[in-house]
């Protein structure tokens, strides 16, 4: 009792003394890590705790799994301070080791926490060795070839351990490393390094299942000074531009029309009614302008709209002029003009233009006359060209157009010498001109044209096509000096019976008893005498009672100014016209006022 008590007291005192002196049992050590470099041996390290001021010894004990035997570390020295090295004989794979470290000093001992270790899972190889970085100059841009050896201890040859390698590169001044995986190879090519710079290279390795090794010591490599051949950039630029050019070309091709439309907008054609493009092309400006003078002035688009009652006024010139157009339009055109107010179209439609337009074509068809044996009035291809369908007498039913008045002499045996040179007129005299002059075999000067509409027999259609229409000529009473012509006075017409082979128009008056009863007979026919044929191959017609000839119809419109003067009329042309004008304001048999007479006169101006 006493001894135990004494021991206790002594221990307490010793404790107190030691505490006063600053010594204590050791602190608890701690196993930091265990590593195996090649899966054949391994090493464990520990961290000593507080030593308590006294020399402390450490011992490592381990126990294999499923055994009870506790063994002590075989080697404390090889791996250095505070370590334990297990050699090959002491290493078992796939077996758990229970490892503890015991710290002992004079005052006591302390045991660390136990650690379970399976060697297979703690493999961390040594660093690769012998790292070399070499600059390779080949045909292309220089690059760096890095090569190394495996860590000496790792047995990769027998397949015991398989290592994966990794390297990293950077310049001195860079912050980040660039890492490359080399898999199981022991070399690697690094491209795209800048010229004239120094690079740092490091390598490390790792087994299949385990930890990465440490990085090797830095290897330095210097890139030479070279000019990089940036081929890829130029190739890309070329391809890109080719591609763009291709796309542009394709777009241009697709949008060809719209581009063309944008850059070269089409010149709008003239849209003046009565304006003939063909005339314009031919360069005869006078005719062009003449054609603008249309009977339907003020211009109207739809003749049907003008179905207004007309007045027959003979005194007032202007009104006559105006009304003329209306009358003509409403009566003469039974069928609606299919055409709109577009230009050039009225050529053969309108009476006034008949002379112009139809004559244009007549010249083309001179040779046709003999073929058919009959005249086709200016079956002008031009006429049809410029107008299209409207001018076709065939196409329209009952479309009547009044002819320009043709003057023929009341004596049937007059015939008209026509020269063959002027191609322009539709009028009978003109046509007569075309044909060589011969004696008229008959009393009649007739132009046979077919397809005369029965109703309007008096009116002749302009042969704008090669059709052959039965045209009649309005034999106007040239008695222009007479104003106030009684309405009963009718227009005189002459029929074209035929054209004989010598290209002579055989005309006969409508009132001829021999004539086929095609037209109305209500008209007293007056004939005008041909006074003479001028040197210009114009027929000067003469009225018995009137002053002077109105030879406008027979004139060549190129020279009607001359005609005017050549006419040798005491009156100025204009008065002639007006007189004619008044004269023309007659109601025809079926209520028409034939103003076609007027039109040629207009052209004088």
């Amino acid at each position: 009792m006493r001894i135990s008590a004494a021991v206790l007291i002594l221990t307490l005192i010793a404790d107190l003394i030691s505490q006063a002196a600053g010594v204590s049992p050791p602190g608890k050590p701690r196993l930091t890590s265990c590593r195996s470099p090649e899966k054949e041996t391994f090493t464990c390290w520990w961290e000593p705790g507080d030593d308590g001021g006294l020399p402390t010894t450490y011992a490592l004990y381990y126990r294999l799994e499923n055994t009870e035997t506790v063994k002590e570390c075989p080697d404390y020295k090889t791996a250095g301070e505070n370590s334990c090295f297990f050699d090959k004989n002491a290493t078992s794979l796939w077996v758990n080791y229970n490892i503890t470290v015991v710290a002992t000093n004079a005052l006591g001992r302390n045991i660390s926490e136990p650690v379970e270790v399976d060697v297979v899972y703690i493999v961390q190889p040594n660093t690769p060795e012998n790292v070399k970085a070499v600059v390779i100059h080949e045909d292309r841009d220089p690059f760096v070839k890095v090569s190394w050896d495996k860590p000496r201890t790792a047995d990769t040859r027998s397949g015991w351990i398989t290592l994966h390698y990794q390297l990293r590169v950077k310049q001195e001044e860079d912050k980040e490393w660039v890492e490359y995986d080399a898999e199981r190879q022991k070399n690697y090519n690094v491209f795209s390094l800048h010229s004239d710079r120094e690079y740092m290279v490091q390598v490390r390795c790792k087994p299949d299942h385990g930890f990465w090794s440490e990085w090797t010591q830095t290897t330095y490599v210097k890139m030479p000074n070279y000019i990089p051949r940036e081929r890829s950039l130029w190739i890309m630029i070329t391809i890109f531009s080719v591609f763009i050019v291709f796309i542009l070309t394709w777009m241009l091709k697709v949008k060809h029309n719209s581009v063309k439309l944008c850059l070269l907008p089409p010149v709008p054609g003239p849209k003046i009614k009565g304006f003939d493009k063909q005339l314009l092309k031919s360069g005869k400006s006078e005719e062009v302008f003449n054609s603008l003078v249309i009977p339907g002035f003020p211009p109207t688009t739809d003749y049907d709209d003008l179905l207004v009652e007309y007045l027959e006024v003979y005194d007032n010139e202007e009104q006559e002029l105006v009304l003329d157009g209306k009358d003509l339009s409403e009566d003469s055109m039974k069928s609606k003009s299919p055409s709109d107010s577009d230009s050039g179209r009225g050529s053969c439609d309108s009476r006034t233009l008949l002379l112009d337009k139809c004559m244009e074509g007549s010249g083309n068809d001179q040779h046709n006359y003999s073929q058919h044996g009959e005249t086709s009035w200016a079956s002008s291809s031009e006429c049809s060209e410029s107008q299209g369908s409207p001018g076709s007498p065939e196409s329209t039913d009952g479309r009547m157009k009044t002819w320009p008045v043709v003057f023929s002499s009341p004596q049937p045996h007059h015939h008209y010498q026509v020269g063959a040179t002027k191609p322009a007129y539709h009028s009978v005299p003109e046509i007569l001109k075309h044909s060589p002059s011969h004696a008229i075999p008959s009393n009649y000067h007739q132009l046979y044209l077919q397809d005369i509409p029965p109703q309007e027999g008096r009116f002749t259609k302009p042969p704008c096509r090669h059709s052959q229409s039965y045209n009649q000529f309005n034999m106007d009473n040239v008695d222009i000096s007479e104003a106030g012509v009684p309405p009963s006075r009718s227009l005189e017409y002459v029929e074209v019976q035929r054209v004989n082979p010598e290209n002579i128009l055989l005309l006969r008056p409508l009132s001829d008893p021999n004539r086929e009863p095609e037209g109305s007979d209500r008209i007293d026919e007056d004939y005008s005498k041909v006074k003479e044929v001028t040197s210009n191959n114009t027929l000067l017609l003469q009225r018995e009672t009137s002053h002077q000839v109105v030879n406008d119809y027979s004139q060549d419109f190129e020279s009607y100014a001359d005609q005017c003067t050549a006419q040798q009329t005491p009156h100025p042309c204009k008065p002639v016209m007006t007189q004619l004008h008044s004269q023309d304001m007659r109601v025809m048999g079926n209520g028409y006022v034939d103003t076609t007479v007027l039109m040629p006169l207009y052209k004088q101006f």
């Binding site: 899966k39 799994e65 499923n66 290493t91 077996v95 229970n98 040859r157 027998s158 397949g159 015991w160």
Partner: protein
């Protein structure tokens, strides 16, 4: 155009024919005369087997980690491994050090692998059922376990063929060799904690054994390809 098409068809047929010939041939095709069996070369077969083993090991490691994170708090790791539970494969005399392993023959290596594979078939099935019973077992864990047990079957098949080819031994590819009586997994369902401990133990043991298989096979490969250099130094 037609000739081009015909050529293309011919080329396609040729290529496909090669695939058919070389690809889908069962591993245990009989080599006796008269039977048309295009067989795979030994090296390729060994490579495939090693790939299988590597993959299985990787997945088993993932399974173990998943289970640990979910069910086993850190301090228990040591406890579990310290406990008297040993992997059942400990009963099988398998060398555990490199020196030992390098001294054993090819035949022994292959047979060890086969034995290991066959010994794990049933425990894996058990694992699947027991893992299902946990409420919050991650789906990845379940699917990986299932996958591994399937892959193990193919691995067994491959090893059997290898044995037949390399060792000229006929052997039966059956897991019935393993002694079922030792299996403690029949019948009763233990408590949660106990179950956790047991399952964790199973998973760790499985991980080790798959690593063994992989190592053995790799050693074998080296020996096959390069007899001289693979000998122990």
């Amino acid at each position: 155009m037609n000739t081009v098409k015909v050529l293309q068809v011919c080329v396609c047929v040729l290529i496909l024919g090669q695939f058919l010939v070389s690809g889908a041939v069962p591993l245990d095709c009989k080599d006796d005369a008269g039977s048309r069996c295009a067989s795979i070369s030994q090296e390729k077969l060994l490579d495939r087997v090693i790939q299988h083993a590597e993959l299985i090991y990787r997945v088993s490691e993932e399974c173990c980690t998943l289970f640990e994170d979910m069910f086993v708090p850190y301090p228990l790791h040591v406890l579990i491994n310290q406990a008297g539970n040993t992997c059942h494969s400990k009963h099988i005399p398998i060398p555990t050090s490199k020196s030992e392993i390098q001294q054993i023959s090819d035949s022994w290596l292959l047979h060890s692998v086969l034995f290991l594979v066959q010994s794990w078939m049933e425990p894996l099935l058990y694992l699947q059922t027991t893992l299902d019973r946990y409420d919050d077992a991650p789906n990845a864990l379940l699917s990986k376990t299932k996958w591994v047990s399937d892959k193990l079957l193919s691995l067994e098949q491959g090893v059997v063929v290898l044995i037949r080819k390399m060792l000229d031994e006929g052997i039966m590819a059956s897991s019935t060799i393993f002694d079922h009586t030792q299996s403690p997994y029949d019948g009763q369902f233990p408590e949660v904690l106990e179950s956790v401990i047991r399952d964790y133990h199973l998973l760790t043991c499985f991980k080790k054994d798959t690593h063994k298989m992989e190592t053995f096979l790799k050693l074998l490969k080296c020996r096959q390809s390069n007899k001289l250099s693979c000998l122990p130094q």
